[in-house]
């Protein structure tokens, strides 16, 4: 490995420090013992904010639970719509090699439009239409809105995977006696799985993260976590938020580390197989 000079190491550390300093502050303050209304000074270590978080004080846990529920439903529904849509459009495009493709082009841009329209416009539009249709359920409104902007992530991810695939795979399966439903089950879906998973994770992150659209859409009662945090900022952030954020950061780190680790294991295994091949 190349040795880094002292200068470059120092610079790198500085960059990382600037990037992670806010996060470190949040984590440190989540253990702050100071119970002042706006606790600026660090007065000592304590887990009191974690305790009150898990006691459900301040409603943060409820908001998190709503966010998770909405995100999971949105990912599930948009996963199905996005995947099937991508498969259908790709197959149409293949048949359509000989047809004019303008219809598909229009369809495709319409599917991906929600991620290009400013969120504030989408949010406003949802609010208007939900009110006009009399859809009142908080969760239903949130899920419907989230599905709309989650679909493109799954759709684009699956579609790019399908387009890059050898089309004769599907012909071969038909040729070997599989009905089109069976081709979908045995060939198309398994081959799309990595794309479905990565698209869904992106959609999950987008849904969990969304503030603007949710803010317009949610009706009576508590909002999702971002809304809850935003509204509590106005009355002064409770250190409970710090505790919650620290836990979410920890979860993100663990998740990232795990996926790196699994990736490395997989790579090692396949290169071992490769070596087995050449040693023959």
């Amino acid at each position: 490995m190349k040795k880094h000079s002292f200068g470059s190491l120092a610079f790198m550390s500085l960059v990382l420090l600037v990037l992670y300093l806010p996060i470190i502050v949040v984590v440190v303050y989540s253990f702050n013992d100071n119970t002042a209304r706006i606790p600026l000074a660090f007065t000592g270590w304590s887990t009191r904010w974690y305790d009150s978080l898990f006691e459900g004080r301040g409603g943060y846990l409820d908001a998190l639970w709503l966010s998770v529920k909405v995100a999971l439903w949105s990912v599930l529904i948009s996963g199905v719509i996005g995947t099937l849509g991508a498969i259908g459009m790709t197959q149409r495009a293949l048949d359509g090699k000989r047809r004019s493709g303008w219809f598909d082009a229009v369809m495709e841009s319409m599917v991906t439009l929600p991620i290009m329209i400013p969120e504030i416009i989408l949010g406003l539009a949802f609010m208007v239409i939900f009110n006009a249709l009399g859809i009142r359920g908080n969760e239903a409104r949130l899920v419907m809105a989230h599905v709309t902007f989650c679909v493109p992530y799954v759709f684009l991810s699956v579609k790019s995977r399908l387009v890059g695939m050898d089309q004769s795979l599907f012909d071969a399966a038909r040729d070997l006696g599989a009905s089109s439903a069976r081709v979908l089950r045995d060939i198309t879906l398994p081959l799309c799985r990595p794309a479905i998973i990565s698209g869904s994770f992106l959609a999950l992150a987008m849904s969990m993260d969304d503030f603007v659209i949710s803010f317009f859409v949610y009706g009576a009662g508590e909002g999702t976590l971002p809304i809850k945090i935003y509204s509590s900022v106005k009355v002064g952030v409770s250190p409970v938020v710090n505790a919650l954020c620290s836990l979410m950061i920890a979860a993100a780190f663990i998740f990232a580390a795990l996926s790196r680790y699994l990736g490395a294991v997989k790579k090692a295994r396949s290169s071992r197989n490769q070596m087995g091949l050449t040693s023959e």
């Binding site: 090699k97 000989r98 047809r99 050898d166 004769s168 795979l169 012909d171 071969a172 399966a173 038909r174 040729d175 070997l176 006696g177 599989a178 009905s179 069976r182 045995d186 060939i187 398994p190 081959l191 396949s270 197989n273 490769q274 087995g276 091949l277």
Partner: protein
């Protein structure tokens, strides 16, 4: 071939909306044949194969297998299997699962699946490779798995779409022999697609030359090589001197004289011709003889313009006049000692220089032309 055809294509046409790809193709294929569809890319041969497999629907015409109309049957219900050009092995299944896939969809029991996959692997000499993933196989091995996957179902007809196209020359020659052996062993009818005329000549029992969606000629390798029926067939199969000219003399016994760029060439026709008719004489370079005495009774002279020695053979260019040049190929064992520029007598056996109707064909675009 008086027996019933196993596969009959009747007036098969295909139009993708941008002009006809196939023009009313009629073809009978007999049991046990190794039939090759030969033609340049885009001639409609892959379309024909896909129509037989059911992967495309014909615009008009019908496909019969053993007398049963297959035209409206989906591909999964046709007793034919395909070896795809890209092999199309399922990347998420290992070799065993790939080969067993067709058996699985057919509902064959596990024990029988195992046994038949083993047999198929033995047939393509890949026993013991069951657990490998396609990504861990070489090109030739993938090819064999693709063949095993198709033949394990014991199809009535095996369709092969340029299966050797992606392999290098040496491997291709090996696989040619392998495929021939397989075909004889399995006694399955093969419909084979290639644009490689040498491959077609080597392997087939019958060759169909296709050009722009129409059959140009059907015949055994020997027939299409020795007796091309069209200028395209002559130019596509093997090397030829294609001498295009006008009939200046015709006699009842078939003897005629063809005027090619001011040179009068004697020829023999097996059909009646007329004076003034435009014909092309197909003269294989291997058939051209030259020497210090008249050859084959012809009074034809030329000048040796160029000599190239290339591994066991000598290529010679002989100018008959300023414009007309003949290609000759002689075995290295019969090397001549004529220096460049010397006058020689040129001739050939007239029986082995067939005449075909001249057409508007642009020879520069046809493959395999000298």
């Amino acid at each position: 071939m008086s027996e019933e055809p196993i596969l009959r294509l009747e007036g098969l046409s295909k139009d993708y909306g941008q002009g006809m790809v196939l023009h009313s193709l009629d073809l009978d294929i007999y049991p046990g044949e190794f039939l090759t569809l030969l033609g340049p890319s885009g001639c409609g041969k892959t379309t024909t194969l896909r129509l037989i497999a059911g992967l495309e629907q014909p615009t008009s015409g019908r496909v019969f297998l053993e007398g049963v109309d297959m035209t409206d049957r989906p591909p999964e219900k046709r007793p034919v299997n395909t070896v795809f050009q890209s092999y199309a092995l399922f990347p998420h299944m290992n070799v065993f699962q790939n080969i067993a896939y067709g058996l699985k969809t057919a509902g064959v029991k596990k024990a029988e699946q195992k046994q038949r996959v083993e047999e198929a692997l033995a047939l393509v000499r890949l026993s013991g490779y069951e657990k490998r993933m396609p990504s861990q196989l070489s090109g030739g091995q993938r090819q064999r798995v693709a063949i095993a996957r198709a033949v394990v179902l014991k199809p009535k007809v095996l369709l092969l779409d340029e299966p050797l196209g992606a392999l290098d020359l040496k491997l291709r020659q090996e696989m040619q022999a392998e495929l021939k052996r397989l075909q004889q062993q399995l006694k399955i009818t093969f419909v084979y697609i290639t644009h490689d005329q040498e491959e077609a000549l080597n392997m087939s029992s019958r060759i169909i030359i296709i050009r722009e969606g129409r059959i140009e000629q059907i015949g055994t390798p020997e027939e299409v090589y020795e007796h091309p029926k069209t200028l395209f067939a002559a130019s596509f199969i093997g090397q030829s001197n294609l001498l295009r000219g006008t009939v200046s003399r015709y006699e009842e016994n078939g003897e005629l004289t063809l005027n090619v760029m001011g040179v009068s060439l004697p020829a023999l026709s097996d059909e009646p011709r007329q004076k003034g008719e435009r014909l092309a004489l197909c003269l294989r370079p291997q058939r051209v003889r030259y020497g210090s005495e008249p050859q084959h009774g012809m009074n034809l002279q030329g000048i040796i313009r160029e000599k190239t020695y290339s591994g066991g053979m000598q290529h010679t260019l002989i100018g008959l006049n300023d414009k007309l040049t003949l290609n000759a190929i002689t075995q290295a064992s019969e090397l001549d000692s004529f220096p460049l520029g010397s006058m020689v007598y040129v001739g050939w056996s007239k029986q082995h220089a067939p005449l075909v109707p001249d057409s508007e064909l642009n020879l520069d675009q046809a493959e395999g032309v000298l």
